[in-house]
Symmetry: C2
Subunit: 212 residues, 2 copies
């Protein structure tokens, strides 16, 4: 465990490293719990007491890490954005841009079906204020949007993506797949595997409902 290594005599640990490690580990556990609860019940229905109970710590301890419920949600969104950036980093950018976009859409659906995609109400003003002032989140969102935007325009220039759609509309359409209620409905019908559901929604998203 890293904690022990940092305390080994050969590599003297910085002061208070044990506590720092504990602090970070606990923060990670908090964000994981928030992420799961946000995916499961949404922001309004999630209570801070639930988060504390799931992590196994007292509610007051939560407030030593995050000053408000909104900041808890923001931390979960920051982590999702980091996961998205890591996924984008792992893609081979030599592939056709349309394939890259499809892979991104597929990834968001996998995360959602795994119950790991936090979904926030877009109308909550205090939450929006917290999110838009969270540099890590805004920077991550901008980075992801820039990378996707480049692939969108490249795909349109290449002729593989409908060029009459504004890139921003394509971008939002892809983002919307990450919180598409259709996935939950189809899963709730109990007739299809996760893979089948993802293939169907990818088909409607990229190929449309009409016959080709």
């Amino acid at each position: 465990m890293d904690t022990l290594a940092l305390q080994s005599p050969s590599e003297p640990a910085p002061k208070r490293s044990f506590r720092q490690q504990m602090h970070l580990a606990r923060e990670d556990a908090i964000v994981s719990a928030v992420n799961r609860l946000l995916a499961e019940k949404g922001f309004e229905s999630m209570t801070v007491d639930e988060v504390a109970a799931e992590v196994g710590i007292a509610k007051a301890s939560l407030y030593k890490h995050f000053p408000s419920k909104e900041d808890l949600a923001a931390a979960a969104m920051v982590r999702v954005m980091q996961r998205a950036q890591a996924f984008l980093d792992g893609l081979d950018t030599k592939r056709p841009p349309l394939d890259l976009l499809r892979e991104v859409a597929r990834w968001t659906m996998v995360v959602q079906l795994a119950g790991e995609m936090p979904s926030l109400p877009s109308e909550n003003s205090s939450l929006r204020a917290t999110l838009t002032t969270n540099k890590a989140y805004v920077d991550g969102l901008m980075d992801v949007s820039d990378r996707l935007g480049a692939w969108i325009t490249a795909a349109q220039a290449e002729g593989s993506l409908n060029p009459s759609l504004p890139p921003i509309a394509v971008l939002y359409t892809l983002y919307a797949r990450a919180c598409d209620p259709v996935l939950g409905f189809l899963k709730g019908s109990g007739q299809y595997s996760n893979e089948q559901i993802i293939e169907m929604v990818l088909s409607t998203c990229f190929d449309g409902l009409k016959a080709r």
Copy 2:
């Protein structure tokens, strides 16, 4: 107005019809307020006090009409379903089934952009319980789904709709357009008119993102 017609001497009104009319009119005003508030802020953020204030009646009076907040939301959904049924009734069923489906999708978007589409959290269990035991809502939903389902299979048989998609997946995809966050995002960008937004989302829905 119907109220006057019912009270005309040629067709004697039933006893207490005035009170009944007032009762119905107030109920209609309540449902309208609930509908608007649900569309604007969602179920969790809507408070019963707000509803009472918007209608201009005492909160206690609300409970003479509807026994709970969940039933208020259910009443709004029943009305939306009735509006949908009325819209379907007005369509010319001689038209190609794909055109009919497109018109339905367009209608849901018009309603949503008009701020008149109540959107409920699909995960709230007490709300789900109330909805699934509301006969008017369930019957309306079944009727609408049956009619759309017939057009979907007809369009697939005709070759105008992708026949490899399960009809239920097509149905859910159309329903999802009624609460598509993409509409709100595009409207929030301030760059497009409602008509442009609807045309873009109709295009991505039926034609897909890929170039044809």
